[in-house]
């Protein structure tokens, strides 16, 4: 068969790339090859395992999200591509010739080399099958060990604990959510998890996962923790296999792309988890395996593959994580990252109630802003608190970083105030943090 644009991969990057291309030029013939039928909303998988959401509610049909947009969907797998002949072959013996190729091949869970990692009931969490199995096993289990204290580890751990399991999270770094937050913000998360009874082991490596056939315990530097199952949430790695085969240049975190989401090969675009993003602030490669990045890059890749010329504004990686009644969010550089990059900086802290103090449900919200010292521009932020107002503040601060907002802009930031909805007029934590930073300069 022949197609104008071939999209390999059916995650958010591929879907949005296809929809965008079709929106720009409805005449284009667009074909998407994806491994499995249906689209699972991956961020919701922990909630299915926790029993708060049904698996069926987080799976959408290909038809609904892709087919109805006039894109041909093939549930199949591309096994080889001849770049010069612009032809792809699939597992089901299809031959597809294309004009332009969009690689949206995603990422694979990283599995550390630990003895016993192939035992039964050792899981990673990526697709619907993983989710179903983890739900089934955890429904009858008592003890869970989670290897990796990143966002997925923290969320799965919290939801399993809410379900009543004994949960241990073991993380080789000295803090939870390492790389994303400064230590004092990670510690706020740690404190909540510990208060809720999660056993948090930091700076410790797993020696072995032990058991006959099923997992029975996890050995962590001498300590032995009983485990009915293990979740490995040690991050993901870009799936660059096809890209490498056809000769795309590959970077440390994935397929190299420019600001138009073009790879090093003509007419080949990449987007989403398989692509290597560049930091808006440092201009250096940065890992960014987020659905939101995938959507943004999908838009750019799709538009440009359809003949447009849209630019990607680079990555500030806004993200947010929820656990029990709390949430934490981050964007841009942490203080540590600014220091490691050799960027002279100043930080500011702000803390206040997220509603007027007289409102019963008021909860504390606190944030830390990182500014480049010379330009006084915002380069990073971390926000912690109850579940209301964390993600939107991160969104605001993401826009602020992209628009070059300075300390003084935030000191004079014109926001709204309402007893039920926001802090008192003179206690907005973003403004307090900016004022604090100004005092430290």
């Amino acid at each position: 068969m022949k197609t104008d644009i071939l999209i390999v991969g059916g995650g958010p990057a591929g879907i949005i790339a296809g929809q965008t291309a079709k929106g720009i030029d409805p005449e284009l013939k667009i074909t998407m090859v994806k491994d499995e039928p249906g689209i699972i909303i991956r961020c919701s998988e922990p909630y299915v395992i926790g029993g708060e959401v049904k698996l069926n509610d987080i799976i959408h049909s290909d038809d609904e999200m892709i087919g109805s947009k006039g894109i041909t969907v093939l549930v199949d797998r591309v096994t080889g591509i001849d770049y010069k002949r612009k032809t792809a072959w699939t597992r089901n013996n299809r031959e597809i010739s294309f004009d332009r190729l969009i690689l949206a091949t995603g990422a694979k869970p990283f599995i550390p080399r630990i003895q016993g990692n192939k035992l039964k009931n050792v899981f990673t969490l990526r697709n619907a099958e993983d989710t179903k199995n983890l739900k089934r096993v955890s429904d009858k289990a008592e003890n869970a060990v989670i290897i990796g204290g990143g966002a997925i580890g923290v969320e799965v751990g919290s939801l399993l604990r809410k379900k009543g399991l004994n949960v241990t999270i073991v993380e080789i770094a000295s803090q939870l959510l390492a790389g994303a937050y400064d230590e004092e913000f990670s510690q706020k998360v740690e404190l909540v998890l510990r208060e809720k009874g999660i056993n948090v082991l930091l700076g410790k490596g797993v020696s072995a996962i032990e058991g006959e056939k099923n997992v029975e315990e996890v050995s962590i530097e001498g300590e032995r923790i009983p485990a009915d199952f293990v979740v490995i949430s040690a991050g993901v790695r870009a799936d660059t296999e096809l890209a490498e085969e056809i000769g795309c240049r590959i970077g440390r975190f994935g397929i190299k792309i420019d600001k138009y989401c073009r790879t090093s090969l003509n007419d080949v675009y990449a987007c989403g988890d398989c692509a290597q993003s560049l930091s808006f602030i440092t201009k250096k490669p940065v890992p960014s395996q987020l659905a939101t990045t995938a959507v943004l890059e999908g838009k750019i890749a799709g538009a440009n593959a359809a003949g447009g010329r849209e630019e990607f504004p680079r990555i500030v990686n806004p993200s947010v994580t929820a656990f029990f009644d709390s949430a934490i969010g981050r964007v841009g550089l942490t203080e540590k990252q600014a220091r490691d990059e050799g960027i002279p900086y100043v930080v500011g802290y702000g803390k206040s109630l997220n509603k007027y103090p007289s409102q019963r449900e008021a909860e504390f919200i606190e944030n830390k802003l990182v500014f480049e010292k010379e330009t006084k521009r915002l380069i990073g932020a971390q926000v912690f608190g109850g579940k209301e107002g964390i993600d939107e503040r991160i969104d605001l601060l993401s826009l602020a970083i992209h628009k070059g907002v300075r300390i003084e802009d935030l000191c004079h930031f014109s926001h709204c105030a309402h007893p039920e909805l926001s802090p008192l007029p003179f206690t907005e934590p973003i403004v307090l943090a900016a004022e604090d930073a100004l005092n430290r300069i």
Copy 2:
């Protein structure tokens, strides 16, 4: 007595002006004259009347908020000022000579000339006494009539209705929240109020408030509505009496100030409800009797009276109103205002769930963005939905207006996404509205 800075008025503008001046130069002698002891958080008054919050919880002592900052507080009233001699006299026969004067005299409720407006149980809502009386009377009443369908009218009406009263809101304009929202957004509010059983009368004037001594009914263009009490919430007018006396230039909406919050007289500053703000977008005078504006202007007036030179970024009037389980917010110009100003514009609409669809508590959130056609810059926004995420989106859009954000910036806006906290990655309503606007250009 002698003081470096005399502040007349003890609302948010005066308090923040004093605190800011003291922060800049702790040696300054600062004196504040205020009418009543204590500081009431005025936005919370409707919640006290509704019985959700206690009056004591929204009153702070002068000591806590002013005295402890090293500012001398006099509960008294300035009755006259000799500008040339830089001396003020008070009701309690104090004579205060000053170097610099900050007028933060606030605003007074506007009372339309309606027959019967002096009857017992006809209230306005401004100070603690009003709040206490309205709480007491409404606790035993059945029927309330609210004259004026602005933010205060809508909030007091909703909270009285929640308390079980029969509530009529009568508004002379053809829509609720007139001037702040376009008609189709006001109608969303109207629909909620009607669904909850509030009698909303639009485009109608009150002929008379009737009764012997107490209010008994309100006559509205022939219709007679039973009323145990009446709340007049017809807006406020800047209190410019003292300013006029000493010869400050007065504008349509209050004391004229420049971007340094200086009045037309040397060494005299004004801030808050008594001052006339200028629009960031049109550069024209605009009413802005919000606590948040008062705080911003207080910072500028205080800093500059203390010898600084800070500039006020002009007004975009972000604000938000809550009623029952809903909230609505706005910032900048409405579509109608853009049209009336002769600014060529394009609008865009976006609507989506505020959480992932699989989350049980997900609620719709919808917004309308107004862009200047030529520059594609954001000049206005309106957001409606449940109570989560309205005010923070308005804050974000306020910052966006101030930073000259364009349609394309918002189409490529890098935000976070999380099942429990935010819309799906490709359904952020701000992005959807920007994409919609781009399609309409």
